[in-house]
Symmetry: none
């Protein structure tokens, strides 16, 4: 579906991932009545991750909140790393989440993206990731689950 280079806020103490509106409305439409929903994904190891997905009126943006910080921590994600959201259609739909390290060129931290490089980059760096094809790790999903 789409991928997103993580910003410092996405991996910081705000405990949320902002999903670009364009992608959010296309892939994770929110029924007007819903105050949010729970999305379940599977990662490369088959582990299931459930995130609360909702729209923040205050910032006019779509976000993943509850559960996100635990994912960042377990995968040791840092600003510049990229997360991938995919839908896999086997005999039943599944959502999966994957990630890859920021490309070698972009090395934020300190003063953040120096001259060249802004963000993502391309490519999939090389390999160092925790084992996975093309630098990506992945997972499957289970059906979206309506929240209260």
């Amino acid at each position: 579906m789409f991928e997103k280079p993580l910003t410092p806020s996405d991996v910081g103490k705000l405990n949320r991932l902002v999903i670009p509106k364009q992608h959010a409305e296309k892939y994770f439409p929110l029924g007007g009545g819903d105050s949010g929903l729970l999305l379940s994904f599977e990662d490369e190891s088959g582990k299931s991750w459930r995130f609360r997905y909702s729209y923040w009126n205050s910032s006019q943006s779509y976000v993943l909140t509850k559960g996100w910080s635990r994912y960042v921590k377990e995968k040791r994600l840092d600003a510049g790393d990229v997360v991938l959201f995919e839908r896999r259609r086997s005999h039943t739909d599944r959502l999966f989440i994957g990630w890859r390290r920021r490309s070698a060129a972009a090395t934020p931290s300190a003063h953040d993206s120096g001259p060249g490089a802004a963000q993502v980059s391309g490519g999939a760096g090389e390999s160092s990731g925790s084992g996975s094809a093309g630098g990506w790790t992945r997972m499957f999903y289970s059906a979206p689950h309506h929240n209260k």
Copy 2:
């Protein structure tokens, strides 16, 4: 029944008082079906205070919400001050709430309470408080009232 030293959050903008689980379950048991109830107390002047009491699943804690901030404001409570919850059995049960200034020893806030006087004064220390034995002010209660 019990007393609790107020934390900065208890007297701040969160508008709630966390009641330690141990005391909450012992003295203010919540019927499973209740989403909360209203507890009425009387203070040292005989004035009645009604607080909403409920359990927050998200933080696994018991809290007093509605009404609490007004009490903090009227009594000019500050972090470190202590609130007391008591049950008095006369010809009918009554709940009362009391408070006292933090003991002189513990003086948190930066420099606060400067020479001139900040706040209320002191009371506590000895007598000046708004009349009450041992630095405590008190109140009675009326029967718990089930909320919807």
